[in-house]
């Protein structure tokens, strides 16, 4: 995701790139050959982490077509915000 693309789509959140899947491996989320051209990519997963570094909410889908919805993630964030 380039800086220009983020600006064009007016995304305000941060995009991090993991080209060698190092962090993906560290989080045990590697989906070997999962990409359209057989690349090693991440399985879909979402984590909400608080300031102490503790995981407060997770979502591991069983079906790559079913992802966390924005309202699910916002509800989890509001729980921490209280």
């Amino acid at each position: 995701m380039s800086h220009d693309l983020c600006r064009k789509a007016s995304y305000t959140f941060i995009f991090l790139s993991d080209p060698h899947a190092e962090v993906i491996r560290r989080y045990d989320l590697l989906h070997a050959d999962g990409g359209p051209d057989g690349q090693d990519i991440a399985r879909p997963a979402e984590f909400l982490v608080d300031t102490t570094g503790t995981v407060r909410w997770t979502n591991f889908t069983e079906d790559i077509r079913v992802r966390a919805r924005a309202d699910q993630m916002l509800a989890a964030a509001r729980e921490i915000g209280r």
Binding site: L5, L16, L30, G35, T51, I64
Partner: protein
């Protein structure tokens, strides 16, 4: 009046309809409905029903004596609906063939630290993310949402 045994078995038409429906209900993912977890199962049920009806219709078309025309139409319908339904069944199992990820951080565990480059090429660690982009400068960031995004395949 046409005899029922002259026409193409109705199972083949219904099978085709269900085969198309199985494929089309996947489009619902793009509408992001609240109950999207049921879409894969709905697609599977429709596809399996399409396979059963298609098979039954094809058997009826050839096991009972029917005119050549009905057999040709039946074959064409089956040739379209059976692969279509099979595609949805394959997609169902393919979409669920994802690693178990038992070593991933779970609730209450510490998220492993990391440093990755952002879209400006700047390295950012997990700790730095808390200070990186507060939505409101007056409200301290209380949490960071990490989304491992891989595109839509």
């Amino acid at each position: 009046m046409a005899d029922a045994n002259v026409r193409t078995p109705s199972q083949l038409w219904i099978g085709l309809l269900l085969g198309v429906a199985a494929l089309v209900c996947n489009l619902a993912f793009f509408l992001n409905p609240p109950v999207q977890g049921v879409i894969p199962w709905l697609s599977l049920v429709l596809a399996v029903a399409a396979l059963l009806l298609g098979g039954a219709g094809l058997w009826r078309a050839f096991a009972t004596s029917r005119p050549r025309r009905a057999k040709v139409v039946s074959s064409i319908l089956a040739l379209i609906s059976l692969p279509l339904a099979a595609l949805s069944v394959v997609a169902f199992f393919h979409s669920r063939a994802i690693p178990a990820s038992s070593g991933a951080p779970h609730l209450g565990q510490k998220a492993p630290d990391f440093t990755l480059r952002d879209s400006n090429g700047q390295p950012l660690s997990l700790v730095q993310l808390f200070a990186a982009a507060p939505a409101d400068p007056d409200v301290p960031t209380k949490a960071v949402l990490l989304i491992f995004y891989r595109g839509y395949w």
